[in-house]
Symmetry: C2
């Protein structure tokens, strides 16, 4: 027993190690030079824009969070409200610092690119790893502290009481974290795509100036958007899945194996954090000519393989149940399969992407048709992987097996988040090299980094969707337990009605977000056109445009469009609750199922269009400037709000709906019945 | 009892009245003149193309059907195989004759348009009504004869035995009908859109010649496609929903009310057929200037209102249960609501369509984004209507109430099918006037008819989707009964896995169909380009292109792409059945839920893009030839395979999956278990 208690303490310790490693890396990144005055000025503009956005975002969000906290305190007790706030704060901190380091690393990467690949890669990936360590460190720390509190406070009342109390608190914590993740995803997603689409529509299409050209009044907003959308949103979202899956595994493990079953997920995750750290040491290019993707893959494989070893070892020697190891490894394999599927369907040079690029020869219509078809096919294949994971996990160890598979999917979160954040940093660095007009090695190095960053960013999306779906599925199981329902029987009409409404909600939600991007992008277009019209000398490069205006517009738009999707997600379960607890259960199943489909579909179709455009730009089917290219650009524009706004926002959305249902379940049962 | 038996005979009698009315109308249409030699030649080309297609289609399909019939005979008995063939033959006959009259009415409508609106409207709507009467006449005849056979053969063994035998036979009948509907929808959908997209991509975009220009080598194929896709496919599909809903109502009614409960749906439907016939008498324009939509609406309203009166009267005086009337009326209201929603989201001049047209000012990218957003929103709203219908029906009279609501939705099928077939006939007439170069009143009259035809065609799509969903839902209830399951509990992982796979299947299916259109359209483009390149004098109008080549290409493509989707739909339930009967139930729920979403989404987004393009062509936002117009054309091209191929094909697909599950259920239970 003593050994197990020591193991219980190992988790927060590892979490702190991860945070310290992140702190060390951030110090190292910040020590690097920012480069010329011009580079510094550009860096400052992006940094200021990003921070201004976050500040304003947090202002709006904190009002909403405060109101909700009061409602929660009144209806569910002050304890729940506090954990709700805690979750929200943790999530906000991760979003904030992840972005904080990204907007400092971008300019340093651009500067270091003048010296060669490795110096630039070290900064970009190092800053990415800061984000990765924040996510896993705080993720594990929060959960393990809460669990230890429950353990030592309620130990005397038996294991069941510990599990009950821990679950209660963790639901509040998860709600706060998920809600903040939703705000980050929605706000960031609208910001980034409105700026991107707006900048491209006038810059690339009307004025024929290249991407990231300093003459484009929306170019700073575009660069700010990369950070806002890809760092802050993704980090908060994955943090939340990370916390939810381990909670589910701990609770179910406790029921099946006692304390050992609780310790296993904690130790497994601690081990996985160490393997992620280990992996980061292998991220080093052999020389300046090596494709930067290779060292990243090396690091990732080291992490994944050593995680498998640790999971199996712990399962056999600590838990005495190899099946637990197999379940976790199933998750790792599923994660690899999802990465592979995403790579196949969206990767540059792969058959589907070449097919879309080829279809662009007959115009934008066929570009779109072929992308829709490929996106839908990829959805089916990805869903089969998720379904197989759930099924195999269940065959191995019942619900505990499913939750372990979920943990396995997230085993390499540390390094995956590093790869993801690496994307916007490289993208920004590439933009800054372009805007500052740096010559020599720099454009080539940042070009290569940017291309790889786009790939890693796209790959990690499939991972985020799949893990969110598994996290939401474990919540779904929790709902079933919490309500004491005997079944959620879709053969009953009211449950089937709940299922239909659940399937329909992701459509309404996505519709709103895609529409928001369209509206905000339209405002950006108007502003950019206005500047070109009224400020003389921009096109000749004699005067700088007023970058801050476009930033202001998208910042305001992102806030304005924030509340309605959030209200939708919080209120719909309440409305469906009027049909009873079982109908609400049908609704939850529908939200996960349909949300999963749409998320895969939108992320993959969008990614494929993006890379089809790049494939043409690389000189295929006529190359840049050809009619084929114009058609491919249309595909990319359509894919943008799908893959970077609506698709990713569905992840926290699925989770919030489940949590809201869990919170209101007692009221539904009392007032309406099962 | 005697009165009720007389009532039992009333149904086939009414069915025969409907068929005779259709026969009378077709005689009247055929008596009209075909016009000038040139018009006759064009009419013959379209007619020959359509008939050649159907002949080849039936050849391929009959092999598949024959193989299946043998398998069914071996595994399920010879009786089931015979009813399977019967259903397939009925469905084929409806598709065949619906098209037969349409390809004879089109040229006569074009010719009559020279005399004015009413003569042309009379032919186009008259021929449409022939199709409508075929659907409802054969629909009611088949079902009532089968029921009467069961009634008089098994009467002595009790009502339950009658219901059991009738269900058995009707499942086979439904399977044959649905499978043929699937082939018609898939083949017709690929044919029509490959021809349409192919003709437009070279004609409109590359060569700048108008639609239906006689110089375009794909123009005959395009006109053939309208008949093949919109008449044959739609008729077979709706025929099947029409049969399924009444079967469900009769079985459940028999359980609840005895023979009275069986007679009620039969008499209600007989009454509704008479009201549809009544409605057709009101379709007459007041003068040549009246918008042809108005008389159509007048006829429709007469049908709907008198159907409400009949339903309520029968419920109160025959059944003695007003709730049955309310349930049926709920269905009529739902159908009206779906028509209204479709009209709002896709209708010319409505806010969403104007918004899409406006978004086209900033290019095809924003056209697409705004259409996707609007399509998704319309999906949510439509699904709420379907969910509410199921819920209210259930509240009123349980499962019987749901099936009556489904019957109510299909109450006006007769006139709705007339309106739908009116679309391709008018479309063809308009094309023929253009190709034959008719002047005077004719272009104006057929232009007005075509515009209205487009509207009615689009409106009836929402109706087809909604009614297919309700029909599939009643089958879902039948599956539950047939398997003796206690619940289909999605809280069980294997059932949830079934649900996920069910939700994913419509994506794979749609992906395949959309891809097929892309591939076939590409072949058409190549052929059309080849003819322009190698046959001198086409562009100058000195030589006619070789129309038959394009027809051959799409005919072959449609057959080639037919088998894989059909196999998908038949084999997937078998594979999922390996997880047990309950998992298969989850799968069925997923297929209906997700199929419904995608079908609404694709039909509505496609319809909205179509009309946004027309709105621009009517001189808004720059009109024809402007950049806005080019962007709007891209939206229309993308929407085409969604709204006319994949979306409509999902209807029979949902139903077939349910029927296959019903057929294999005994084996699943015996071999795998519940």
């Amino acid at each position: 027993m003593d050994i197990q208690l020591i193991a219980l303490f190992a988790a927060p310790t590892t979490a702190i190690v991860a945070l310290l490693y992140g702190f060390f890396l951030s110090r190292r990144v910040l020590k690097e030079e920012e480069g010329s005055d011009k580079l510094q000025a550009i860096g400052k503009a992006v940094r200021d824009g990003a921070m201004a956005y976050l500040k304003r975002q947090f202002k709006v969000v904190s009002i909403f969070i405060a109101i909700l906290a009061v409602i929660i305190a009144i209806t569910l007790g002050i304890g729940m409200a506090i954990t709700f706030l805690l979750g929200a704060i943790f999530s906000a901190v991760i979003g904030y610092f992840g972005m904080w380091i990204a907007v400092r690393a971008n300019v340093r990467t651009a500067n270091a690119a003048q010296k060669g690949l490795n110096p630039a890669l070290k900064i970009a990936f190092g800053a990415g790893t800061v984000n990765g360590m924040l996510v896993v460190g705080l993720g594990l720390l929060g959960v393990s502290l809460i669990y230890m509190w429950a353990h030592f406070t309620f130990q005397s009342q038996g294991a069941e009481m510990v599990a009950k109390k821990a679950t209660e608190v963790l639901v509040g914590y998860g709600f706060g974290a998920a809600l903040l993740a939703l705000f980050m995803r929605v706000g960031g997603g609208i910001f980034t795509k409105a700026a991107d689409v707006g900048a491209d529509l006038v810059g690339k299409v009307e004025k024929n100036i290249p991407e990231d050209d300093a003459r484009n009044p929306a170019t700073i907003a575009d660069n700010v958007g990369d950070n806002v959308g890809d760092c802050a949103g993704m980090a908060a979202d994955v943090f939340e899945s990370y916390a939810l899956t381990i909670v589910a595994a701990m609770i179910l493990g406790g029921q099946m194996f006692g304390l050992k079953g609780v310790v296993f997920p904690l130790l497994a995750r601690s081990g996985a954090i160490l393997t992620s750290i280990l992996g980061t040491f292998f991220v080093k290019a052999k020389n300046d000519k090596e494709n930067p993707l290779n060292p990243l893959i090396r690091g990732f494989i080291v992490s994944a393989v050593s995680a498998i070893v640790i999971f199996m070892g712990l399962a056999v020697y600590l838990l005495g149940e190899p099946k637990a190891g197999f379940a976790a490894v199933t998750g790792i394999i599923a994660m690899l399969a999802l990465l592979y599927i995403t790579k196949y369907y969206t990767g540059p040079g792969e058959k589907p992407v070449v097919e879309i690029a080829g279809a662009s020869r007959t115009g934008a219509g066929t570009t779109l048709i072929s992308g829709l078809s490929i996106g839908m096919e990829s959805t089916f294949v990805s869903v089969v992987v998720v379904a197989a994971t759930i099924f195999v996990g269940y065959l191995l160890l019942g619900f505990y097996g499913i939750s372990l598979a979920g943990m396995g999917m997230l085993a390499t979160t540390g390094i995956i988040m590093s790869l993801d954040t690496f994307g916007p940093i490289s993208d920004n660095a590439q933009g800054m090299v372009e805007m500052a007009g740096l010559k020599g090695k720099a454009p080539e190095v940042t070009g290569a980094l940017d291309a790889v960053g786009n790939t890693t960013k796209a790959l990690t999306k499939g991972f985020a969707v799949g893990s969110a779906a598994v996290a939401a599925s474990s919540l779904f199981a929790t709902y079933f337990e919490a309500t004491g329902l005997k079944s959620i029987d879709i053969a009953l009409p009211k449950v089937f009605v709940g299922l239909l409404l659940g399937c329909a909600l992701p459509y309404l939600f996505s519709s709103r977000l895609i529409g928001s991007v369209g509206r905000a992008a339209f405002e950006v277009v108007e502003e950019v056109r206005r500047q070109f019209r009224t400020i003389k000398g921009i096109m000749e490069g004699k005067r700088l445009p007023d970058y801050s205006k476009a930033v202001d517009i998208v910042t305001a738009a992102a806030q304005r469009e924030l509340l309605i999707p959030a209200l939708m997600v919080v209120l719909m379960p309440v409305l469906v609750g009027l049909l009873g607890a079982q109908a609400l259960g049908g609704f939850l199943g529908g939200v996960v199922a349909s949300g999963l489909m749409l998320a895969f579909f939108m992320c993959n179709a969008g990614g494929a269009w993006d890379n089809a455009k790049k494939y043409v730009e690389d000189g295929n089917f006529g190359g840049k400037g050809s009619d084929t290219h114009k058609a491919a650009v249309v595909g990319d524009t359509v894919g943008d709000p799908l893959k970077d706004t609506a698709g990713p926002a569905l992840n926290p959305m699925m989770k919030i709906v489940q949590i809201v249902a869990l919170l209101i379940a007692p009221f539904v049962i009392a007032l309406v019945g099962r």
